[in-house]
């Protein structure tokens, strides 16, 4: 497929760039679900990520500061608009986030349904267009629909972030073919967002040509979050390297890996 032609010739300097900014890791970590800020910090460090998502909520004076954790880890912040069901809500929350954190970057979420937390494509496309116009660097959490992904790229999103499966489901990538189609169609980075359950899922995302992976629950809700964070770090690197290495084709039949001649009988 097209992305094969586009595979970087070498791993050297094979860095993820979003909106012209280079990120030191292709793994983006969501902070939701951690049992404590301490557990979260350990996971962030083990993951090697350079970018973490946060949500914006009413300030609780009693709660410890998440921002301090983020800054102590020296990672970039990506505010999300989780909890919004309409473009209007999401646009307003994005503006508040820009005020709060002084970053134009936003993970745009507009949810259609509280059971599935699946994105609402129509509202999402409207919000994305507005936020791009307002000068945001928009990273939309979207379905695996290639047409919607193309539309989001066309309105000026800095990346598209299709889901593999519902948020927190750990079901992996339900429709790899769509993810590969999206990678073929759009010219901006593709970040696999939501559904990752374990390391092989993250590696597969990269092998499909994704430029990065965003995950939260798979790490924060694992039995050993920091250990799983380390696993994801390695898996994303492994998958990217494998993608650039040019895998062998799938064959229905066998190919001998030892000489068939030269035996004494």
């Amino acid at each position: 497929m097209a992305e094969l032609a586009e595979r970087p010739a070498s791993p050297a300097g094979d860095t993820l760039e979003i909106a012209g900014e280079a990120l030191a890791s292709r793994l983006i970590l969501g902070t939701g679900g951690a049992t404590s800020h301490a557990a979260l910090e350990a996971a962030v460090r083990a993951s090697g990520t350079a970018l973490v998502t946060v949500a914006l909520r009413r300030l609780d004076p009693a709660a410890p500061s998440l921002l301090e954790v983020v800054e102590r880890c020296g990672v970039r912040i990506l505010p999300n608009t989780a909890g919004c069901y309409t473009a209007t809500e999401a646009v307003k929350l994005a503006h508040l986030a820009r005020e709060a954190f002084g970053t134009p970057w936003v993970k745009l979420e507009v949810i259609g349904d509280e059971d599935t937390l699946l994105p609402d494509g129509v509202e999402l496309a409207a919000a994305a267009a507005q936020l791009v116009e307002d000068g945001f660097t928009v990273l939309p959490y979207t379905s695996d629909d290639p047409i919607l992904a193309q539309r989001l790229a066309d309105v000026g999103c800095a990346a598209v972030m299709p889901l593999g499966a519902p948020i927190g489901s750990g079901m992996g990538i339900r429709n790899p073919h769509n993810i590969a189609l999206i990678r073929d169609k759009v010219r901006v980075p593709v970040i696999l967002d939501a559904g990752i359950g374990t390391a092989s899922d993250a590696a597969l995302a990269m092998e499909l040509g994704c430029d990065g992976v965003l995950l939260a629950s798979a790490v924060t809700r694992a039995e050993h979050p920091a250990r799983m964070a380390g696993a994801m770090r390695l898996a994303v690197e492994a998958g990217r390297l494998a993608y650039t290495a040019g895998r062998i084709p799938r064959r229905l039949h066998a190919t001998a890996s030892s000489p068939t001649g030269g035996l004494p009988w």
Binding site: G30, T31, G32, G33, A34, L40, T53, V54, A55, L56, R57, R58, L59, P61, A63, S65, L66, L67, V70, I77, P79, N80, A82, K92, H95, L96, A97, E99, A100, F101, I167, G168, A194, A216, S217, T220
Partner: protein, 67 residues
């Protein structure tokens, strides 16, 4: 007068500013905080000279864990 701050009603001095409200909630150096007055964003630069009116809703938001 009465303000509703983060969904909690409270009686405040009439001369109160948004900056005062934020200070009370978030302390002297409130980093990573954004404010909405009756649903509209109040830029940080305007906190000090923005005076809520009786019955206004003030929302003070900050970062929490989120995926």
């Amino acid at each position: 007068m009465q303000l509703v701050v983060n969904a909690v009603a409270s009686t405040v001095d009439d001369s109160i500013t948004v900056a005062d409200v934020v200070h009370q909630l978030a302390g002297p150096d409130p980093r990573g905080v954004a404010v909405a007055l009756n649903g509209d964003v109040v830029p940080r630069a305007r906190w000090a000279d923005t005076h809520p009116s009786d019955g206004d809703h003030v929302e003070v938001l900050t970062a929490v864990q989120g995926g």
